[in-house]
């Protein structure tokens, strides 16, 4: 699977990088695919309600009413119709890219299985909603869609009579059919909305609205497209003739030509195999699943910060079980934990300054204890011998430093930059472990663990607990959010930062670091 994921991921990283040049990070469309899909849903819903006001459910009336909207009331109903179509297409486009991107990021298994699994019916209902919409126009495209869809459905031996037989002759169809189709066309999106809600149940603080600027840009673009290239109908349906050439909407109907080449049974088999594969993909074992975070009750004061910060809703609070005078204690659900360590970074006990006990936090990653992070930091500091020493705290999915800066910078990595307690920065600078600190992680808006970059920024900006202390000189801290392909840019930034740090007056160091600190606690 990695062989498929890696090249796709590489393409995404490149394109995301290009988009980062022109969009503010938070507006990058590729970082907002799910939210854009939601936004399109609302545009489709609102425009659909307006279009429905003028829609007549009848064999001849349906086409006529849509022609009225397109030609006579083009300035409003026509635009609404175009928005309805193009936003629907955009929803499919964003959804497909969203699926491919999440797959390439390996966000479909392990703790994320539920979100992926519930995405499968979303896919089906999006297409059901769109295809029934095309049916309602009752033009040549609708005739084609109706015949091909029902010929495919007829293969399933659960219908008493052939559904396709309703579309072979002008007198075989009646108005009630349109009543049925409009019912499906309204109910399917409502069910879709319900599944979307379920889809996000395991995502903490999901982003369902794109940033305002991106939303405005996308809506205005759709509006311009609707004016410049309005959606129109094809010739009216005529069941006495065969549809020979049809202008397909390739977003929704792109697979329909297969019905001309494959048998209905083969296509059913393909559909079952494809959707079945998608549904069971989460059963594949995670590439590397580290042990879930563990609460060290002795050091947990029940502050709830880890509960607030966990992007996967993997931590809950429950009444204290050890009799200590705190209201609650944190409990980790191992099934939901992805071992990102963001909870460790949020814990007020995660302070490397601790003197009277071993460095143990209230919540820890068994595979990467906080004491290990401190030991690695000391080791990295020891490896620095140049005039200006830069310590780089980075995350596994982000950029790495190159050999060019090896003489002045050393890197300490962790699963997510959100694992870094701000106290570590204070400690490293005040103990003279480095002259400057670089904090790096995934590109903003594109954190592998959703919130690591956001929470780190907020903690360093003193907008979220645990906050970086005021005494820490901000001139000695650089934040640089970068993807794995931005290694050179990171090196350049470090070089520039080292130069600027070298211009600063020598910092007041706190205590001199004890030589035996590596791997041990302070006394």
């Amino acid at each position: 699977m990695m062989l498929i994921q890696k090249p796709i991921r590489a393409v995404f990283v490149r394109v995301e990088g290009l988009l980062d040049y022109v969009f503010p990070h938070a507006w990058n469309p590729l970082y907002n695919l799910g939210a854009l899909g939601f936004f399109m849903y609302w545009i489709v819903a609102v425009s659909g309600i307006y279009v429905y006001i003028f829609f007549d459910t009848g064999i001849t009336e349906a086409y006529g009413s849509i022609e009225y909207m397109t030609n006579d009331q083009w300035y409003l109903a026509g635009i609404m119709r175009s928005l309805h179509r193009y936003a629907s297409d955009a929803m499919v486009l964003f959804m497909l890219i969203h699926i491919v991107r999440e797959f390439s990021l390996d966000r479909y298994r392990g703790a994320r299985w539920f979100t992926w699994f519930t995405g499968v019916p979303i896919f089906i209902f999006v297409f059901l909603s769109g295809i029934t919409g095309y049916w309602l126009v009752w033009d040549r495209l609708a005739q084609y869609v109706a015949l091909k869809s029902t010929e495919w459905l007829d293969w399933v031996p659960i219908f008493g009579t052939s559904i396709a037989a309703n579309f072979v002759a002008p007198d075989s169809l009646d108005d009630r059919f349109f009543t049925l189709m409009i019912f499906i066309h309204i109910v399917a999106p409502l069910i879709l909305l319900l599944i979307l809600w379920i889809h996000l149940q395991r995502v903490r603080k999901p982003i369902i609205n794109p940033p305002r600027g991106l939303a405005i840009g996308m809506f205005v673009s759709l509006l311009v497209l609707s004016l410049v290239w309005p959606a129109t109908s094809q010739a009216p349906a005529d069941l006495s003739t065969v549809v020979s050439v049809v202008n397909l909407d390739w977003f929704y109907l792109g697979l329909y030509p297969l019905l001309d080449y494959w048998s209905a049974g083969s296509l059913w088999a393909a559909a079952v195999v494809v959707f079945g594969t998608f549904a069971i993909m989460p059963l594949m074992p995670p590439l590397k699943r580290s042990p879930a975070a563990e609460v060290i009750l002795e050091h947990c004061n029940g502050c709830t910060r880890c509960v607030d910060d966990c992007p996967y809703s993997a931590i809950i609070m429950r009444p204290r079980s050890d009799g200590r005078a705190f209201i609650g204690e944190a409990v980790v659900d191992p099934g939901l934990c992805v071992s990102c360590g963001i909870c460790v970074g949020s814990c007020p006990s995660a302070s490397p300054f601790r003197k009277r006990s071993d460095l143990v936090s209230g919540i820890e990653l068994p595979d990467y204890m906080l004491s290990e992070l401190r030991a690695k930091t000391c080791k990295a500091s020891d490896s620095l011998s140049g005039g200006t020493r830069i310590l780089v705290f980075g995350c596994d999915p982000g950029a790495r430093i190159g050999g060019k800066v090896a003489s002045l910078a050393a890197m300490v990595r962790m699963p997510c930059i959100g694992m870094l307690p701000p106290a570590f920065i204070d400690w490293a600078l005040s103990r003279g472990l480095a002259d400057g600190i670089v904090i790096t992680g995934c590109r903003e808006g594109n954190c592998q663990h959703r919130r690591g970059v956001d929470w780190t920024n907020a903690r360093l900006d003193r907008k979220r607990d645990p906050q970086l202390r005021r005494r820490v000189p901000r001139t000695r801290i650089l934040r640089f959010w970068a993807s794995p392909v931005d290694g050179k840019a990171l090196d350049k930034a470090i070089t520039r930062f080292a130069e600027s740090v070298s211009q600063l007056p020598e910092q007041e160091k706190g205590r001199t670091r004890k030589p035996d600190l590596v791997g041990a606690s302070d006394e």
Binding site: G160, V168, L248
Partner: protein, 167 residues
């Protein structure tokens, strides 16, 4: 990068997305049926005669039945398969024995078959057998038609209308 270039870049991205949406919403056109051909569709849903035939009930038997079930004939549920044949210009283009629907085999048999033929004059013959006979047909109809390119010629069957209907 200056703001002007950034805004221009954003406009380019939005423009590319919209161009993609606008184009693929209707293009490229797809030919689903070849030029110079017409289509004949054979479609109907029809139940064969009860297998084994019906037996007339005696007056005593009828009297013993509940009032709502007093029918003069006692028929088995299972129906015979329907044999259907469609010929164009004397060549058999479709022939099948259609099993009745339902677990008990008491539902109608159904067929839906599309056949592509070159446009022009054709002799279309439809035959159907829905009884227990093994030779010959219970219904047959033949028609000479001149099919135009793209015409959809439908062959249906309605026993109550006397047999095959050509449209």
């Amino acid at each position: 990068m200056s703001n002007v270039i950034k805004y221009a870049g954003q406009a380019l991205v939005y423009g590319a997305i919209m161009a993609m949406l606008g184009y693929f919403a209707t293009a490229p056109a797809y030919r689903t049926f070849p030029e110079g051909y017409a289509r004949i569709t054979l479609t109907f849903s029809h139940g064969g005669k009860p297998e084994g035939g019906c037996r007339r009930r005696t007056a005593e038997e009828i009297a013993k039945l509940p009032p709502n079930m007093r029918r003069p004939f006692d028929c088995p549920r299972k129906r015979v398969p329907i044999f259907v044949q469609l010929q164009v210009d004397g060549s058999t283009v479709y022939e099948a024995s259609l099993e009745p629907a339902g677990v008990q085999g008491d539902g109608p048999a159904r067929v839906y078959k599309g056949i592509r033929v070159a446009a022009g004059p054709h002799k279309v013959t439809a035959r159907l057998r829905d009884s227990e006979r093994t030779e010959g047909f219970d219904y047959e109809r033949e028609v000479d038609v001149v099919l135009k390119p793209g015409q959809h010629f439908v062959v249906q069957f309605k026993a109550e209308a006397g047999g095959f209907i050509f449209q």
